[in-house]
């Protein structure tokens, strides 16, 4: 695989181009950058984050997607080795592996990314809400936008009310239709603080037009004389100003706030004032402020509006339908249908899936990295007609440049990671569900946005049709998945779980919601997924196994009637208030096109083709693939694959690692002067609306200002966003802050971010504390805002007190041993060892058996039908030939000590001797066993075999089965069963299908029945399942509670009685062989777990550090895992994990040194009574009694848990920032009010 990289003469380039800034691209970028490789991250959209940033919560832990992804966004945004190229595209790639030349275009944002602070003022000031109709000449160059045909009929589906009917149609073609817009009340003057207009006598042309335009008789004029304005009767509407011919421009404006910036800015300022003044007058009538007319004429340069006695007169054909007049109207008097004749084209907010509108200048989403807006060249008035330009006038940093052009550049890289991501199936293609027609039918991604606190409804689950809170909500699964009719025959893998999650979260938002999920098979095949689904059903999520045939909308209520066949084959009708279509995943056309440009082979759906045993390698050497573009997958699998792709991409670049990397240098730490006054800065986070919707953050901020030592406080929308971090840095300098407190979310996820900001400001990072006013306050006290605010104040107070008591702590640096210990020599361990060796590290590979290969030695064929023995032999030879790999066969790791970067392990040799090795990281790959429960005579009768046995039986040269064998396969035999294995083993369905197909290949006359509960052939494996059905394999579904199969086995044959739900009849199957899909069970992992000091889950598999974003990290530093030791999975999936784990290990092993936590226990020997309490209490076995007869704690081993500190009767142990001093300060502060 790497030969191509090394073949060319010149040394490879130590940089990698990552295509796509979603979770996959970000993870690849971070793993590469942390291993010393320079990364260019190219993302099409204006910000990184991808689909994950759009999600509300994530399964199966219900973690908030934004909360767990935003630290990654920020890390990518800040990383010195990552060059972020957003709003950019890869155009071409020349050269070959090791030395590519990439041509990348960065489209113009029209905003200077370095100057912009992300304040969002431009977006607030932009008055345009709809795609304007620009004059032909201006619009034609950007005709890329498929403009709606103007002649779109008022057809029932597209536009309910028939917009042509309104206002008569007679004058449409006349070019000059004037429409009068009246209110419910006669127009009245707009209040006191208005703009002042005067006539500049020297400029006045004495034409009298202003006199005629004024409705107040405030302009005095006589023929041939200059005009003059009577300030007593002037109401400041500006009619005279707008009317005055340009050649004179004789009317002058004064007393207009922000007019020095421009008319657009002044209009917005006045609109804000008027909105407050006329808060109650909304929608009643015109207040004749004139802002609409001024905006249309003087900002948009259109002049389609005029003030008249009765209200406002519109030249409907001149109107460009941009929405500016409507958006500046302080009393919501105007509507867009009234002022223009052409259909309004709303500018949909794509990040919110079109559920609300955006401006032509906008920031993609609140937490966007970079938080810099872009101007849409199709809809921006300035860029098309040359008018407006309001945003540039309000920008405080001069960051807006309308003439800015995109730029192309050549980038030299050694490899490419292709992870352009996914798009969702267009639900309109399943017309029977009425998406796009029935307003209350939404897609699952739209529902995510409805659930999201930063979404269009701020997290309220409401119907798009009428804003009502729905009670009954239906999810329809497999919309654009497992669907031949739409050429989407594959399974999208994630929809079952996201639908269950959405249903659960919907009920969390509103307990009145009754969710129902209509599904075909419940494909909850991942780790802990089944228990998640079980919990969901306990919490009121109803699951109905049925495919909905049609959705009927009630035209009056907007409710939706679903029709389906129930389990008994009876037709059912059921009415729901909202329907969510669980849309599938597909490859975006742009990604397909790019794959073609890069000469990467794809399948008919556009998924990148790979060899199952080289799962990251594309058809073009040097380009590696990760994420959903390789096949549908969930976030943890994507993250694993992204790390693995990073490993694969850097594999050939090990020699040039660090050659292009920048090392971060922190400013020198500012020592505090003795007796320096406390200068505390406090930041109270809105967390979007997570906190601010419950807690009065302004009040908490105000309160924080009153606390002793606090010299500065503010309440940012997202304190963790990159711009906020920049701001905190600036504020630390500006106010000479020496303590910082953030009242926000969990320190577990966000403390490192804030601490690094302190470091970058020259402040010791332990002069920081965090109050968790989200998880521990706003989320749990959502119904009691006042009390929550009081609690937030108290939590903030305590954090301030703790920060005041904080002292500077310092981390120690220590050298990293670059060797890797791999425990387990199965496919995962072998793959990992080879990969790590290629990365240049010495590997100790320890295998308990006397031969490498693990469980796959028992398999004759691989997933793709390849000869397994040959494949394993190839790996063995490679390992044996690699001088960097030290192989320990028949050996076991029996003891381990040390810590990340400096582990020491004892290996028991076959001779009985032990050997000690030193290494910097551990990769655990000890695998799992095939489950062999004594069910139906397995192990006793020759007529009952396991699925693996069956696979091998099929490969035996002389077929042991009769000529026309009858085989019955029982799925979930001892799986998903509380008496055996409670979980799903993920691989059995695919294994059964593959073996079934192979069976029919060998025995064309044979018959095979598969009894199953849910066929979990996720992703592209669904195609095999389909092939199996077409080949004649008979699938019979059973539910252990409803129609359990009655199985009788004997040495002569087997008999199965079962009610087949597809025919509603009992059937009797006689067979020669019963095949049990028994699943995988964990090995005896307890000893290993305690040796490595990491936990196993209740089911016996090892727990990852984070189910979503750290799938191959064990919850101990420097410990990683791969393969079935983590959970059941297929061999290709194990290979991905193995390489991912090597990528993660490489981020440590490639460093010369690591820093050790400063928060460790220290024993004060003078107070130690040598009572051994700490020695007994420490769960990690760290404290020892030293030669001087006092307890000693190795700071490198100490986990900083604090148990010894609490237990020590003599109070001889202290723990960094968790000293009594700190805790007492907090407690005192708690009770101080």
């Amino acid at each position: 695989m790497t030969s191509a990289l090394q073949s060319s003469g010149q040394p490879p380039t130590g940089a990698v181009l990552v295509v796509g800034g979603g979770i996959s691209g970000m993870q690849s970028a971070l793993d590469l950058a942390n291993a010393g490789i320079k990364v260019y991250l190219v993302e099409r959209s204006p910000a990184i984050g991808g689909r994950m940033a759009q999600l509300d919560k994530t399964f199966p832990t219900n973690d908030c997607a934004m909360c767990i992804v935003s630290p990654k966004l920020v890390e990518v945004g800040r990383h010195a080795n990552i060059e972020l190229l957003t709003h950019s595209e890869l155009l071409a790639l020349d050269g070959e592996a090791g030395n590519f030349q990439a041509r990348v275009v960065s489209h113009s944002r029209y905003i200077d990314i370095d100057r912009c602070t992300g304040c969002g003022l431009c977006e607030l000031a932009c008055p345009v809400s709809h795609q304007p109709y620009f004059p032909e000449s201006a619009e034609s160059p950007q005709s890329a936008q498929p403009a709606e045909p103007a002649e779109q009929p008022a057809s029932a589906p597209a536009s309910p009310a028939g917009r042509e009917g309104r206002g008569g149609k007679g004058g449409r073609r006349g070019g000059g239709e004037k429409r009068l817009i009246r209110g419910n009340t006669p127009p009245r003057a707009s209040g006191h603080e208005h703009w002042h207009f005067t006539v500049a006598a020297d400029a006045c042309g004495a034409c009298g037009i202003c006199h005629r335009a004024c409705l107040q008789q405030a302009v005095r004029w006589q023929k041939g004389e200059r005009a003059d304005i009577d300030q007593e009767s002037c109401t400041g509407c500006g009619a005279c100003w707008v009317a005055c011919p340009e050649k004179f421009s004789a009317i002058r404006v004064s007393a207009a706030t922000e007019m020095e910036k421009g008319v657009g800015a002044a209009v917005q300022a006045r609109a804000r004032l008027l909105r407050r003044e006329f808060a109650e007058a909304r929608g009643l009538g015109c207040i004749r402020c004139g802002l609409c007319v001024v905006t249309c004429a003087r900002v948009m340069g259109v002049g389609a509006l005029r003030l008249v006695e009765e209200g406002v007169e519109a030249l409907v054909d001149r109107c460009q339908v941009c929405g500016a007049c409507v958006s500046v109207c302080p009393v919501d008097f105007l509507s867009l249908e009234q002022v223009g004749s052409r259909p309004a084209r709303p500018l949909h907010n794509a990040f919110n899936e079109g559920l609300n509108l955006r401006r032509p200048v906008n920031i993609l989403y609140p937490q966007a990295v970079p938080r810099v807006p872009t101007i849409d060249p199709l809809s921006c008035v300035r860029l098309n007609s040359g008018a407006c330009g309001t945003c540039a006038t309000v920008c405080g940093t001069g960051a807006i440049h309308y003439r800015a052009e995109g730029r192309e550049r050549q980038i030299r890289v050694g490899a490419v990671v292709f992870s352009p991501g996914l798009e969702l199936f267009d639900a309109r293609r399943r017309g029977e569900f009425g998406y796009g027609i029935s307003a209350n039918v939404v897609t699952s991604i739209e529902f995510e946005r409805l659930l999201s606190a930063s979404g269009p409804t701020a997290g309220a689950v409401t119907r798009p049709g009428d804003g009502r809170h729905p009670r009954k909500i239906a999810w329809i699964q497999c919309v654009g998945s497992r669907d031949e009719s739409c050429d989407r025959a594959y399974c999208s893998s994630v929809c079952c779980m996201y639908a269950v999650k959405e249903a659960v979260i919907a009920r969390e938002h509103d307990a009145a919601i009754e969710p129902t999920i209509f599904f075909i098979d419940m494909r909850s095949f991942g780790k802990n997924f089944d228990s998640y689904v079980a919990r969901a059903t306990e919490q009121g999520v109803r699951l109905v196994r049925a495919m909905v045939s049609r959705v009927f909308e009630d035209p009056l209520s907007g409710d939706l009637e679903l029709r389906y066949l129930d389990a008994n084959g009876q037709r059912q009708r059921e009415v729901f208030e909202m329907v969510v279509l669980s849309v599938g995943i597909q490859v975006p056309p742009a990604a397909r096109a790019l794959a073609d440009t890069l000469h990467i082979a794809t399948d008919r759906y556009g998924f990148v083709r790979t060899d199952p045993y080289q799962p990251l390698t594309t058809s073009r050497p040097g380009i590696f693939v990760s994420g959903a573009v390789k096949g549908p997958k969930d976030i943890p699998e994507t993250v694993g694959e992204a790390s693995a792709a990073a490993e694969a991409a850097s594999s050939g670049l090990a020699a040039v690692r660090g050659s292009l990397a920048t090392s971060t240098t922190l400013p020198p730490e500012r020592p505090l002067a003795s007796g320096e006054d406390l200068r505390i800065g406090v930041f109270i986070c809105h967390c979007g609306s997570n906190i601010a919707s419950v807690v009065d953050v302004a009040a908490v901020t105000e309160y924080a200002r009153s606390l002793p030592g606090v010299v500065y406080a503010e309440h940012p929308l997202y304190t963790c966003s990159q711009d906020s971090q920049e701001r905190i840095r600036a504020l630390i300098g500006e106010h000479r802050l020496n303590r910082v407190v953030a009242a926000a979310c969990s320190p577990r996820t966000h403390e490192p971010l804030f601490m690094s900001t302190l470091q970058q400001s020259g402040l010791n990072k332990f002069f920081f504390d965090m109050a968790n006013i989200r998880d521990q306050c706003s989320w749990v006290h959502a119904d009691s805002p006042e009390e929550a605010t009081a609690k937030a104040k108290r939590l903030t107070r305590m954090a301030v007190a703790n920060a005041a008591a904080g002292e500077a702590l310092h981390e120690q640096e220590f050298a990293v041993d670059s060797r890797l210990l791999v425990i387990g020599g199965g496919i995962a361990g072998m793959t990992a060892a080879l990969a790590a060796a290629r990365q240049g590290f010495v590997v100790y590979l320890v295998e308990r058996e006397s031969e490498l290969g693990g469980r796959l030695r028992a398999a004759s064929r691989g997933n793709d039908g390849r000869d397994m023995a040959g494949y394993l032999q190839g790996l063995r030879q490679e390992i044996e030939a690699d001088s960097r790999i030290r192989l320990f066969l028949g050996c076991e790791v029996v003891a381990q000590s040390g810590f990340v970067g400096a582990f020491e392990s004892e290996i028991a040799m076959p001779s009985g001797a032990t050997r000690t090795i030193h290494h910097g990281a551990v990769l655990l790959a000890t695998g799992a066993d095939e489950n062999r429960p004594p069910l139906h005579g397995l192990g006793e009768l020759a007529t009952v075999v396991s699925q693996t046995d069956f696979g091998n039986l099929l490969e035996e040269a002389s077929p042991p089965l009769p000529e026309r064998p009858q085989v019955v396969v029982l799925q979930c035999a001892g799986s998903r069963d509380p008496d055996h294995l409670p979980y799903c083993s993920r691989v059995c369905c695919n294994q059964a299908v593959r073996n079934g197909l192979r069976f029919l290949e060998r025995y064309p006359q044979g018959r095979l029945d598969i009894l199953y509960r849910d066929m979990r052939c996720y992703g592209l494996a669904e195609l095999d399942y389909r092939r199996a059905r077409q080949a004649g394999i008979n699938f019979i579904r059973f539910d252990p509670a409803v129609n359990p199969p009655q199985i009788t086995t004997s040495a002569d044959g087997i008999e199965v009685l079962i009610v087949d739900p597809s025919v509603g009849q009992p059937v009797r199957l006689l067979g020669d062989l019963l095949v049990l899909s028994t699943g995988m069970r964990p090995r005896q992992n307890e000893e290993l777990a305690s040796m490595l000091r990491v936990p196993c889950a209740a089911d016996g598999f090892f727990l990852e550090a984070h189910a979503k974003l750290r799938p191959v990290d064990l919850p101990g530093e420097g410990l990683f895992m791969a393969g079935t030791v983590h959970a059941p999975k297929s061999a290709p999936e194990s290979i991905v994990q193995a390489r991912a784990a090597v990528a993660r290990a490489t981020t440590l092993l490639s460093r010369k040194s690591l820093t050790m936590s400063a928060i460790v226990s220290r024993v004060d020997p003078t107070n130690c009574a040598v009572c051994l309490t700490c020695v007994r209490a420490c769960p990690y076995g760290v404290p020892v009694i030293n030669d001087e007869h006092t307890a000693e704690i190795n700071p490198a081993l100490c986990q900083g848990c604090g148990i010894c500190v609490a237990e020590c009767p003599a109070k001889a142990i202290s723990l960094g920032r968790y000293d009594d001093r700190n805790i007492e300060a907090k407690i005192a502060s708690f009770g101080s009010h």
Binding site: E151, P153, A154, S155, A156, P157, A158, P160, G162, E164, G165, R428, R430, G431, E432, G434, G436, I437, S438, V551, F552, E553, D554, P555, L556
Partner: protein, 284 residues
């Protein structure tokens, strides 16, 4: 514009009024209908169910005649359209198989819905309207066969069509939003299982009424007959042909022989025409 015309049995019998209104509408729109001289049964009634070969050959014989003329072949009846389209598709895919190796016509089999909803024709209709049916709320009803199966009909939007809505808007009436537009009218069961037919039709009519429709409009003779004849007594929602309404809006009149052809009183249209104002200069 010249079109070959295949009326089929319905338009010569039970739906003669459809044929009548269609001819008059085409006359208004300068469309010349050239009826095939020796057309035969399309095969929809029983042939295609009983004998595939016979079903196909019947339609193919008609297609051969159309091929001799060379214009697009207009088929108003949905069942005829579906059969002729199926035969046309089979011939185009594998003419050899059907022993008609020369079949590769430049002309198409077109259904009346796609004819009348073509932008150019809509514009002509709009221009010709003298009495826009302003205020008339119509439920556009497509039924099944003109759209499905899409592999045969080549319909672009077989689940959510909008051709009738476009036509209805062009003649000034108001299409209502409703969801039973492509539901089965039970035409094929109406004789054998009137009980089922009555239930399905009652559903359709109730949905249309709930949406505020005063009448239905369709372009299928089976749907028209079935929905009018099987609807519960007292519902009183007439079912118009699209051509019937378009012709009325253009001519400004509604002949009593058209009116008499309905089983449900179509008074809503005559009353509207009695009050509708003529558009100035709209009539040709």
């Amino acid at each position: 514009m010249k079109l070959s015309y295949y009326p089929g049995c319905s338009l010569k019998g039970s739906a003669a009024d459809y044929d009548d209104s269609l001819h008059r509408l085409c006359a208004h729109l300068d469309i010349d209908l050239v009826e095939l001289v020796d057309w035969n049964c399309c095969g929809a009634s029983s042939a295609h169910m009983l004998n595939h070969e016979a079903g196909m050959r019947l339609a193919m014989r008609t297609l051969q005649q159309a091929a001799g003329i060379g214009h697009d072949l207009l088929v108003p009846c949905a069942a005829c359209f579906q059969r002729l389209k199926a035969a046309d598709r089979a011939l185009r895919r594998d003419a050899e198989y059907w022993d008609e190796p020369d079949y590769s016509p430049a002309w198409q089999v077109i259904h009346i819905s796609s004819l009348l909803a073509a932008p150019e024709l809509l514009a002509r209709i709009k221009k010709a309207v003298s009495r826009p049916l302003t205020g008339l709320k119509l439920a556009c009803y497509y039924g099944c066969l003109s759209l499905r199966p899409p592999k045969v009909t080549a319909a672009e939007n077989w689940e959510q069509p909008d051709t009738l809505e476009r036509l209805v808007a062009a003649i000034g009436a108001e299409p209502v939003r409703w969801s039973h537009r492509t539901e089965c009218c039970s035409g094929s069961l109406t004789m054998a299982r009137p009980d089922i037919a009555e239930r399905l039709v009652a559903d359709i009519v109730a949905a249309a009424a709930r949406a505020g429709a005063e009448a239905l409009v369709t372009d299928c003779p089976m749907c028209q007959a079935n929905v009018e004849s099987r609807q519960p007594a007292g519902t009183g929602l007439p079912v118009f042909y699209s051509s019937e309404l378009a012709e009325a809006a253009i001519s400004g009149s509604y002949p009593s022989r058209q009116r008499r052809a309905h089983l449900v009183d179509p008074g809503v249209l005559s009353r509207l025409l009695a009050t509708a104002q003529a558009v100035e200069g709209g009539a040709r």
